[in-house]
């Protein structure tokens, strides 16, 4: 690896097929490959089975989220955010709505905040379940994956009950939520959480102390604290490196300061630490949901401030303010005061940050999403070089790349 020119010539010799002593083989992993969740391409350079070089290409799922958003009204962006991180769409909804609320300088009613915490944590659990399940499946633990998917189904049915959709939730609004808790939701929630705990326990027994599994993930993809920070890691990957940075605590948005939970941290940042951190976070999230369900206050789930929520139909047809508000909201859209804000929330993968710029009109000037897995994928070469080609699988699985969020 010291002599770049030698390597370069070897590769060229390899591709022309003349030099059979070539020891470096380039192999395209992705864009369509079973281990690439979503689509991303790794051009890996192998010496035998050892990875000596890797080039990453992303952008296959780019749909112009930011451009579309800047050509929409503020409220029209919410459905687009569903499609960012498509395993935890509610967290994106919540993040964007909180960002716009920050731009307005208002806060949602407490009941709405507690509901958001419950739904947000449910989404976080589904995110972790998907990530862990998929990562385990790819190293052969197929049963574990399907058990987790079964558990995820319990939660997605709750999401469906709340929002009417499993993925395209479109649930939050500026200053509250579109729906309140449905009848009997909290009982159902307790039921499902109990079932989820059973599944977690079962899966824990199946995999966490399995020697083969530990051999596959231990000391794979280790990352130092310094590198992790420099690469801008956040979320479970940063915590696996041993840094207890969690936006829920560090910036304490919403009502997280009233809830009691722990931030699990790892030590070496290898795939096993990431696995354990995510497993523990699921348990912490269950804990948070239970507390929030206990503490949830009565009250409105939507702010009654004018020009933020669409007036009730009886006001639209019944009085002139309602009619005008409705007309202006529909024709001109929400008009947050001019300014710029950056609103971070803890997503499933790490810090989801919305940077919004408003000029006071109904059209956003800039809607920027800071995708957490962008940094992880950027660090993929640093994590994989020196490992075997089979290690791409657990490493990339634990990175939990979400194409929608990465490529926007």
């Amino acid at each position: 690896m010291t002599d770049m020119n030698l390597l370069q010539s070897r590769i060229e010799g390899d591709s022309s097929g003349e030099d059979f002593s070539a020891s470096v083989m380039s192999i395209e992993i992705g864009p369509a490959h079973p281990a690439m969740h979503g689509i991303v391409r790794f051009t890996t350079h192998l010496d035998g089975e050892l990875i000596v070089g890797m080039d990453t290409e992303i952008g296959y799922l780019h749909r112009g989220f930011e451009k579309e958003s800047e050509n929409s009204k503020w409220i029209q962006v919410i459905p687009y955010t569903d499609r960012l991180n498509y395993v935890s769409p509610l967290l994106n909804n919540i993040g964007y709505s909180m960002a716009v609320e920050k731009l307005y300088g208002i806060e949602a009613p407490r009941r709405a905040e507690f509901t958001r915490v419950i739904m947000g944590e449910i989404s976080r659990i589904t995110d972790h379940l998907t990530c862990l399940g998929a990562a385990a499946m790819e190293i052969g633990a197929f049963t574990f994956f399907l058990w987790f998917i079964k558990a995820r189904e319990y939660l997605w049915e709750l999401v469906e009950e709340m929002t009417g959709a499993r993925l395209t939730t479109n649930w939050t609004r500026f200053g509250g939520n579109s729906t309140d808790l449905p009848d009997g939701f909290l009982t159902e929630l307790a039921d499902r959480l109990a079932k989820l705990k059973d599944v977690m326990e079962e899966c824990d027994k199946l995999l966490t102390r399995n020697k083969i599994f530990i051999d596959r993930v231990k000391d794979i993809g280790s990352f130092s604290k310094e590198d992790a920070l420099s690469y801008g890691f956040t979320g479970p990957l940063l915590r696996a490196c041993g840094i207890p940075y969690d936006v829920r605590r560090a910036d304490s948005y919403s009502v997280y300061d009233e809830l009691d939970f722990e931030i699990p941290v790892g030590s070496t940042g290898d795939c096993f630490d990431r696995f354990l951190v995510r497993m523990e976070e699921i348990r912490q999230s269950i804990n948070i949901i239970e507390q929030a369900a206990d503490k949830i206050p009565e009250g409105p789930f939507m702010t009654d401030e004018r020009m933020l929520h669409y007036p009730d139909k009886k006001d639209v047809y019944g009085n002139i303010e309602g009619l005008i508000d409705h007309f202006k909201l529909v024709m001109e859209g929400h008009q947050p005061p001019a300014g710029e804000i950056y609103m971070p929330i803890e997503g499933g993968n790490g810090e989801i940050g919305f940077y919004l710029v408003s000029d006071g009109s109904g059209d956003p000037v800039r809607v920027r999403l800071r995708p957490p897995c962008f940094n992880f994928v950027a660090a993929m070469p640093a994590m994989t070089i020196g490992h075997y080609v089979a290690d791409i699988v657990p490493i990339f699985g634990s990175v939990n790349m979400i194409g929608g969020e990465l490529d926007r």
């Binding site: 690896m1 770049m4 390597l7 370069q8 590769i11 060229e12 591709s15 380039s26 051009t43 350079h45 000596v52 070089g53 890797m54 080039d55 992303i58 952008g59 780019h62 112009g64 930011e66 451009k67 579309e68 800047e70 050509n71 920050k102 731009l103 300088g105 590198d227 920070l229 420099s230 690469y231 801008g232 956040t234 840094i243 940075y245 560090a250 001019a338 300014g339 710029e340 804000i341 950056y342 971070p344 810090e351 940050g353 940077y355 710029v357 408003s358 000029d359 000037v365 800039r366 920027r368 800071r370 962008f374 940094n375 950027a378 660090a379 070469p381 640093a382 070089i385 490529d407 926007r408």
Partner: protein, 186 residues
């Protein structure tokens, strides 16, 4: 935007945040504007001193911004502001539990800025994305290629004068060796 919310020194001296005062003390001539709208500390600096300021933010123990959270640009064409582009950098310090937004304004015909990829590794891809989307040139970046768009793409999609429904040429199938320069990460 800038005029209404940016707090001019004479008018509102308080509540601009410790970092702003520190930066103003360290780089008195470089800071052109600052505000802390909704609690987000924001400092606008001149382009020439951008790299030293970043180095200071990264290395000085009073700042120690370990994480480069986000890097993007804003095209202010439709806001009728001059200069047209505004580079926006978000930093996070875990030591001091603080965030900072640093901004640099760039004119349209000279949209170049020093690359800070040597300070934070995350910057590499962020700068590529910003180049891809806005056409900002980062001087000193080792590999300034498109990242989300493909190589044949013409124009920079997040510029406000780029029409949202513009058609683009399709990319051609190419051989592997042409696409990739080997050895960048080794």
């Amino acid at each position: 935007m800038g005029e209404e919310i940016s707090t001019k020194e004479a008018e509102i001296p308080q509540d601009t945040g410790e970092l702003t005062s520190l930066l103003r003390q360290e780089f008195p001539d470089e800071i052109t504007d600052y505000h802390s709208h909704r609690g987000d500390e924001t400092v606008v600096i001149k382009r020439d001193s951008f790299e030293p300021v970043c180095r200071f933010l990264r290395e000085d123990s009073r700042c120690s911004f370990e994480i480069m959270m986000d890097l993007t640009a804003v095209d202010r064409l439709e806001m009728n502001e001059e200069p047209r582009f505004e580079m926006v950098y978000h930093f996070k310090s875990l030591t001091h539990a603080r965030r900072l937004r640093l901004k640099v304004r760039l004119t349209e015909d000279d949209c170049k800025i020093a690359s800070i990829h040597h300070l934070w590794k995350a910057v590499d891809w962020y700068e590529r994305e910003c180049f891809d989307m806005f056409g900002i040139h980062f001087e000193g970046h080792p590999d300034l290629r498109r990242i989300l768009m493909y190589d044949e793409f013409e124009g920079h999609p997040l510029r406000k004068d780029y029409p949202i429904d513009k058609q683009q040429p399709l990319s051609q199938l190419k051989e592997v060796d042409e696409r990739h320069v080997y050895g960048r990460h080794t």
